[in-house]
Amino acid sequence: MVIALVATLFSFVLFRTLPGDAVTNIAQSPRITPEVQAALRHNFGLDRPLWTQYALYMRELARGNLGVSFTDAQPVSGKIIQAAKNTIPMALLGTMMGIIVGTIIGVNAAYRQGSARDRVITGSAMILYSLPVQWIGLLMLVWFAGVLPTSGMSDPYLIDAGFWATAEDRLLHIILPATCVALLLFGAFALVVRSSQLEALSDDHVLTARAKGYGNRRVVWREAFRSAMLPLVSLSTLTLGFLIGGGILVETVFGWPGVGRLTVQAVGARDYPLLQGLFLVITLSVVAFNFLGDVLHAVLDPRVAE
């Protein structure tokens, strides 16, 4: 909560440190007299003390008003909501894929620490982890061009198609970006799962389970993995929060019309209100997901709640 408040203040101050203000830009037009400029400043509330401006900003923020975009005078909040609707399915699908594959592979690597399989997995996870994601995406573009749709969210020529055709189109479009997100996350997930699974496997309760004669599968998955899951849960929520804005590179490569791509467009057009709104939304979603992660952690592990 405190961090969220500080974040609003931070984004307010950050964008106020710009040389000039909203009116300076308009004032480049030659017919604008100083009187008009002053009137405009007064209308925008820019002549009031900064604290009042911040209070106004917060009041409008509480109403969900993020201002209007410089480029097309549309409300910023509407644009962001639209983009978030596109980002969320892609980020969710990618994260799910990353978690599932990362978990299976991480648990497998931990099964025999130091074995050839473990080394290969750890090594490749580490290499994948050091590759820039935009580069992975570009290579996917090269490989899959012509096989799968590589850009955008839907086929613009697909008009009035039936439900199934539309669904198929959407699905085909989401595969590449979601896989790219999964590849971006997979290395980190596999390594985290591996290390927490290693720790869990050496716990007493796992030894007890083995002594009871339970099969390998049950010991590894039901006994050990259950306690190894905690770091994974907090990492997953953090990742989701991060992906709302952190999918910037993936969305740029695949032309996915989400929050990240909107950010890049806002930068390109120097659309400061939009950029400010995006930055705020991205930060707040990270904070929110952090909080969610803490809550989930406390639910799963009662020791934390105390």
């Binding site: 950050l14 820039p132 935009q134 570009l138 590179l249 490569v253 950029l275 991205i282």
Partner: protein, 295 residues
């Protein structure tokens, strides 16, 4: 120097250091090593790798090998400069706040926590968009978002040092704070600072590539990130010119891997508990460190 010895005995550290030194060598001697000019076309458009152009040419017919070598120079420069600034900021904050304690420490911890939560890439984009994108500004922007790890790690270390007997004895003999920090705090923290510098180089190179890809790189300088961005913007994909895409990514990955290996090797040598297998993900730093990692 037993720590130094122990570090050098790890094959992973030696391999990582060799990678970094190799890239440093290429960066320093870039103008000599470039077979062609990285600015002037020297062959046909998108020529595949051949004997005269070992890595082929890009969309304008510029030799890829020369581009990558020129890119090495700028990427390494951004990486090391940003890491140096970040470690100086982070190290100073960590040492002073860890040593002095009190409200100053509380404030530093608060600010660090705040910067750790803020998503780094969006903030970097905003800063670069607001304040400009010359190479100097990019270095500062990356450094501003990379110092928090250093502060955390250093502060924890200084905390344990502060309680040790030799510090208390020095103080009771009337030694000043600056003297204690210089003589008793800095030497044991120094290897940690080196490890953090190397790890931050990896973060910085990544960050530079990300910014460049969004079009916020220094347009007058060739870096690995800029080469990747050019490949994306200028139809290398539809031309199927993989040779215009692969080399800069491989360079980034190699350098980042080298930095990870060295940084981790030093940290493990300082704290042997960290490393059980030859690669220990316990100390693996995530792109965005979670609070659990840093504690």
């Amino acid at each position: 120097m037993s720590l130094f010895r122990r570090v050098l005995h790890k094959p992973t550290v030696v391999a990582g250091a060799a990678i970094i030194i190799l890239f440093a060598f290429v960066a320093v001697f870039a103008p000599v090593l470039e077979p062609y000019s990285p600015y002037v076309p020297s062959g046909p458009t998108f020529a595949p790798p051949s004997r005269s152009h070992l890595l082929g040419t890009d969309d304008a017919g510029v030799d890829m090998l020369s581009l990558v070598i020129a890119g090495t120079q700028n990427s390494m420069m951004v990486g090391f400069a940003a890491a140096a600034v970040a470690v100086i900021i982070g190290g100073a904050l960590g040492i002073v706040s860890g040593y002095r304690g009190g409200w100053g420490e509380t404030a530093v911890v608060g600010v660090t926590d705040f910067f750790l939560v803020i998503p780094a890439l969006p903030l970097m984009i905003v800063l670069a968009a607001l304040f400009g994108q010359t190479i100097f500004q990019i270095v500062i922007i990356i450094a501003l978002l990379a110092w928090m790890n250093v502060t955390y790690v250093v502060r924890a270390q200084v905390h344990t040092l502060r309680e040790r007997g030799f510090v208390a004895r020095a103080r009771s003999l009337g030694a000043g704070d600056m003297y204690i920090i210089r003589r008793h705090i800095l030497p044991p923290v120094a290897p940690l600072l080196v490890a953090q510098t190397v790890l931050t180089v990896a973060t910085a190179v990544f960050a530079e590539a990300a910014l460049a890809f969004i079009g916020l790189g220094d347009p007058r300088r060739i870096s690995w990130g800029v080469i990747i961005q050019n490949a994306f913007d200028r139809t290398a994909v539809s031309a199927g010119a993989w040779w215009a895409i692969v080399p800069p990514g491989v360079c980034i990955a190699l350098l980042v891997l080298g930095c990870f290996l060295v940084g981790q090797g030093i940290e493990e040598a300082m704290n042997p508990r960290l490393g059980s297998a030859h690669v220990s993900p316990r100390s693996f730093r995530l792109r965005r460190p979670t609070p659990e990692d840093v504690q």
